[in-house]
């Protein structure tokens, strides 16, 4: 950097002095903030991979959960993986259609200025987002488990309650992004409201809706608290999601990590890595789906 501009050439740099200094300070601060954000993320990933990668094998993914005194090379997390898939899938089947339909009501049918019902529902969805996940578990425990015993279904109910507001809010945001000019174009051709919604609004927002839904699923798959009071967290595999206690990856992580045996702890790390991998796959799928559906919007 030359201190003096050559004669005849414009000096387009930031004027010297406080402003230039301020610019540098802020740039440094931004980089520092970026590094600070990255550190915990990288650290978590590194720790989980370092401690969990060695135990991952086909046997680990499929074998029964052994007694917690068993060494690391015995058994695996098969029942927990099965349980997580069953419970999360059932929760999604309940929460996703309801959430998407709810968002369609809020954004398309609630009216531009939001009728009373739409405002009330929107408010409830916001409140529900803020409810701690363990409360969801307690809630299902008191209205369901006390009467119908522990089951994967009870866990799915709790996870569904947790997913519902997330699905509603993310879908609603996507519907809001659909420009009104598209709706008008469809109305101008004589389409009814339901047809406008089904054939123009939903397809235009589908990529975003699907990726929002997948992120909600990933979030639910990683929840421990709602399952504590609802599935009982046993070690045996239970393919019947509707009756009998079940198990899941996050609750196995919880149980194994607090166990004093090194084999159990190793299995806990393996379960953690498996869970992260599942979430990662869902997020990648979300990205791919968004890109796939964006084909016509570019």
């Amino acid at each position: 950097m030359t201190a003096v501009a050559e004669p005849g050439r414009a000096d387009l740099r930031e004027p010297a002095g406080w402003r230039r200094t301020k610019n540098r300070i802020m740039t440094v601060l931004m980089y520092a903030a970026f590094v600070l954000t990255i550190v915990p993320l990288v650290f978590v990933l590194y720790t989980v991979i370092a401690k969990g990668a060695s135990i991952i094998s086909w046997q680990f993914l499929t074998a029964e959960i052994p007694f917690n005194v068993a060494p690391a090379n015995v058994g695996g997390m098969g029942p927990a993986i099965l349980g997580t898939i069953e419970i999360t899938a059932l929760a999604s089947v309940m929460a996703v259609p309801l959430g998407v339909l709810g968002a369609i009501y809020l954004n398309e049918y609630g009216g531009k200025n939001r009728n009373l019902l739409a405002r009330f529902l929107g408010f409830l969805a916001d409140v529900m987002t803020g409810v701690p996940s363990i409360i969801m578990g307690l809630f299902i425990f008191s209205i369901w488990v006390l009467y119908f015993q522990f089951s994967g279904f009870a866990g799915a109910l709790a996870l569904g309650c947790l997913m519902l507001p997330i699905v509603i809010r993310s879908t609603e945001e996507m519907l809001k992004l659909v420009p009104d000019s598209l709706r008008e174009g469809s109305y101008a051709l004589g389409a009814t409201k339901s047809r406008v919604t089904l054939t123009v609004v939903l397809p235009a927002a589908l990529g975003g809706i699907v990726s929002g839904v997948l992120l909600a699923i990933a979030r639910a798959a990683g929840e421990t608290a709602p399952l504590l009071f609802t599935i009982l967290t046993v070690t045996a595999a239970n393919p019947n999601v509707f009756s009998g206690p079940n198990t899941s990856l996050p609750s196995q992580i919880f149980v194994n990590a607090s166990s004093p045996y090194s084999g159990a702890q190793a299995r806990g790390w393996g379960a953690a890595l498996t869970l992260i991998a599942i979430a990662f796959v869902l997020m990648i799928t979300a990205r791919l789906v968004t890109a796939r559906f964006d084909r016509f919007s570019r």
């Binding site: 598209l182 109305y187 101008a188 051709l189 004589g190 054939t199 919007s297 570019r298």
Partner: protein, 294 residues
């Protein structure tokens, strides 16, 4: 809407030179008006408490191009959107007075806005193709009306795109996104989409204001072409455009009430385009049209 009159399909394939159309126009416009298609009587339109347009009375004639001109906020678009009840979509919009279409009140009790819009189509200021393929964009309206036959749909798509003078440019890529087209092409796609349902009237809200001069010409030629079959009402800010394409012109004006600080649109003059531009009766019309360049 299944079959077009046989002569249209052939007539659209060879577009007459634009110049020929332009020369033909003036003597047509001075001719006696045809049938009334719309009868607007004492119409005022409100958005909530705001009175956007006050007391508009005018007939619209069949197979003519009627242009609405006037400054911003004078209510041209509001009146235009009332013809196919698009204002229904705006919360708090309300209409007083009566607006009749072929003798039937558009705002009557049993009138379905959807049925109205199937006969009275609309092209918007900003091209708004659906994020679907070009084919699906054009086939959208016929499909709404229950047309499922692939062969018939193919025919409608081709005829509509030909009428909109877009066929040759897109015939080899009907399956690409409607959003991949340039602004002018997208607007012609929207016109094709509108005429694919064989409407009776096409409303156009500044259809060329987002387009470059060449695309504007294409759209104007298209309008002249289309008026043989349809009635067109067009809002425009471009007075040369009004003189080039329209048979009749309505001039709107903003009335400002200093005391209550409210503004409302009024219709100040309505007549043949020739009369409005060459012999304006109202001083406000005179002021507005003499701002014209050339």
């Amino acid at each position: 809407m299944e079959q077009l009159p046989p002569e249209t399909a052939t007539a659209k394939t060879e577009l007459p030179a634009p110049a020929a159309l332009r020369e033909k126009k003036p003597q047509e416009s001075s001719a006696a008006p045809g049938n009334k298609i719309f009868d607007v009587e004492n119409v005022s339109i409100f958005y909530g408490a705001f009175k956007a347009v006050t007391d508009v009375t005018m007939p619209i004639y069949e197979n003519e191009i009627t242009a609405f001109i006037g400054s911003s906020g004078s209510g041209k678009s509001t009146v235009l959107r009332a013809f196919n009840r698009m204002n229904d979509l705006v919360a708090g919009a309300r209409l007083e007075g009566d607006m009749a279409y072929r003798g039937e009140s558009l705002y009557g009790r049993d009138v379905s806005a959807t049925a109205v819009r199937r006969r009275i189509g609309m092209v918007f200021q900003k091209p708004n193709p659906f994020p679907k393929s070009i084919y699906d964009n054009v086939a959208y309206g016929p499909r709404i009306n229950g047309e499922r036959n692939k062969h018939t749909l193919d025919e409608i798509v081709e005829t509509s795109l030909r009428k909109a003078a877009l066929w040759d440019e897109v015939k080899n890529r009907l399956n690409t996104s409607g959003l991949s087209l340039s602004g002018g092409q997208a607007q012609r796609l929207c016109i094709a989409r509108t005429i694919a349902v064989e409407p009776d009237v096409v409303l156009m809200d500044e259809p060329a204001s987002a387009l470059d001069p060449i695309a504007t010409h294409a759209v104007e030629d298209l309008m002249l072409e289309l008026k043989e079959q349809y009635t067109i009402v067009v809002v425009t800010h471009n007075m040369q455009q009004a003189t080039r394409v329209s048979d009749r012109t309505a001039v709107f004006y903003v009335l400002t009430d200093e005391k209550s600080d409210t503004r409302t649109g009024v219709l100040v003059e309505y007549g043949t385009t020739e009369q409005i531009f060459q012999d304006p009766q109202d001083p406000r019309t005179q002021g507005y049209v003499t701002g014209r360049v050339g």
